[in-house]
Amino acid sequence: MLKDITIGQYFPGDSLIHRLDPRFKIVITLIFIIMLFTGGSFVCLAIGAVYTLIAVLLSKIPVKMFIKSVKPIMPFLLITAVLNLFLVSTGDVLWKWKFIKITSDGIDISAFMMFRIILLITGTSLLTYTTSPITLTDAIERLLSPLKKLKFPVHELAMMMSIALRFIPTLIEETDKIMSAQKARGAEIDTGSFMTRARNLVSILIPLFISSFRRADELATAMECRCYHGGEGRTRLRQLKSAPRDIAALAVTLLFFGAVITVGILLK
């Protein structure tokens, strides 16, 4: 059950998408998100879908993984769809029962929203699937570096993020281990009534908290032993360098963005 969590998961690979400069990838992802939200019609979304599909195919990551990433937000998706279906009151009324009615606009909008969110999740998971957490935070640090002038602790923020990301798999593994250990002592975690499950959760949370604090403490000591003292004057082993392919990828993305805007204007 914990194995199904795909957030922040990275799939090592050597595809074109993997090799893109992470800074560009973040900017491209941002443009992609804006693109999805500016497009107000199905044609715009279709363009976005084509773009996503190309990117997914280029990444060589099994399509199954993307389906897996959409799965956990399924309930959220359904709620959005159902709310839109019943709350939108414009358009032709197709079905009516007392105060509840379904209109053509309602169907349109709920389908549109679902489509949009699925694309959003797929596109953004592509970023984390193809970029290792460490390079990702490196890139964020570089992109935010102008804020340093405003005394914003960019380096510290990036360091915290990379530590947090780095420890997600560790914590999941740890949780799994503790869960197995407590299950071996007969704790009912997957089975049993809601109350017993809630009570048994304590037997997992306490050890988990204790070990997190222990880990944090050990990590802090290890960092100090290696003379870590914040970002000032710190150099990098791996410098981020942009290549022509990054510019090309950005150009293609902007082209799609342009297409979405044009279609949007033409359809008005």
Binding site: P12, S180, A181, A184, R185, V202
Partner: protein, 287 residues
């Protein structure tokens, strides 16, 4: 009859993802009741995955596990019962401790079994005694204890369920030599009292040699061998080839044999070696 049996047990991790890996590959073995068995194998050889099948924490990709001749996965709802009969102590088990007092933590398993308070009390105190935790520790917080004591509390937590088969995954990892000897000694004591089957995973050949009736060796997801301790250590050359070791004293006697001093027996504990040497020396004196 064998208490635990596996038939062509196979387990593959993360099927269908880039991380797919077969950790246990067609393993068939029979574990007899009442024995103490040493489990060895390299890191990643599949021994931890294998033992997690014995109490149904992992479900085999294919193959079967029989407990008392019955497939444990025959009735999925019964799996919790299997866990009470096959107790598993994980590596570094002190990280699973969570209760306010030592007593409560040891009682967690028995309580989950639905036993009554008197029975729980008997079991907790008996196992605490077996593992060498004095009664005045019972009301202390487990988090105030030393590392070795915490480890023993965690082991007692599983022992108190009085499982027919007790499996311990590297129970002595990370302890000092004194703590290590103490834990093994207490496990032996528990074995003598209950006569239950015990499996111990260990990297220390000396430890294994000191208790095991039989040794199970895993190598690269496959069962390398499963035989009496004497027979396994007799295959010293093969064992070192797969990157494992035989006890130092066995190596010494192997060398002696090569140089013409044959004792005619496999030696794997220092105590036995001492007896053997003294006997040999006495024979000489007589002559």
């Amino acid at each position: 009859m064998a208490i635990l049996e596996t038939q062509e047990l196979t387990y593959t991790y993360s099927i269908g993802s880039p991380f797919e890996k077969t950790a246990v590959d067609h393993v068939s073995l029979k574990i007899e009741e009442g024995q103490m068995i040493g489990v060895m194998g390299h890191t990643g050889s599949g021994k931890s995955t294998l033992i997690q099948h014995f109490n149904g924490l992992l479900r085999p990709t294919s193959g079967k596990i029989l407990l008392d001749g019955k497939d444990i996965w025959e009735d999925k709802n019964n799996i919790r019962n299997v866990r009470f009969q096959v107790g598993l102590v994980f590596q570094y088990p002190e990280y699973q401790i969570f209760e306010e007092t030592v007593y409560k933590d040891i009682a967690f398993g028995p309580k989950n079994m639905g036993l009554d308070d008197n029975e729980i009390k008997r079991r907790v105190l008996e196992t605490a005694n077996d593992i060498g935790l004095s009664e005045e520790l019972m009301e202390r917080s487990p988090f105030d204890l030393s590392g070795g004591q915490k480890r023993r509390v965690a082991i007692a937590g599983v022992m108190a369920m009085e499982p027919k088969v007790l499996i311990l995954d590297e129970p002595t990892a990370g302890l000092d030599p004194a703590g290590r000897d103490k834990i093994l000694e207490h496990i032996k004591k528990y074995h003598e009292r209950t006569k239950n089957t015990i499996l111990i995973v260990s990297h220390s050949m000396e430890d294994i040699a000191s208790f095991a009736d039989k040794i199970l060796v895993m190598n690269k997801a496959k069962l390398f061998c499963y035989d009496d301790t004497v027979n396994v250590f007799a295959r010293a050359d093969e064992i070192s080839k797969i990157g494992l070791d035989v006890p130092q004293i066995t190596k010494v006697f192997g060398e002696l044999k090569k140089r013409g001093l044959d004792f005619g027996k496999e030696v794997f504990t220092v105590g036995y070696a001492k007896d053997l040497l003294i006997r040999r020396l006495k024979e000489r004196e007589v002559r």
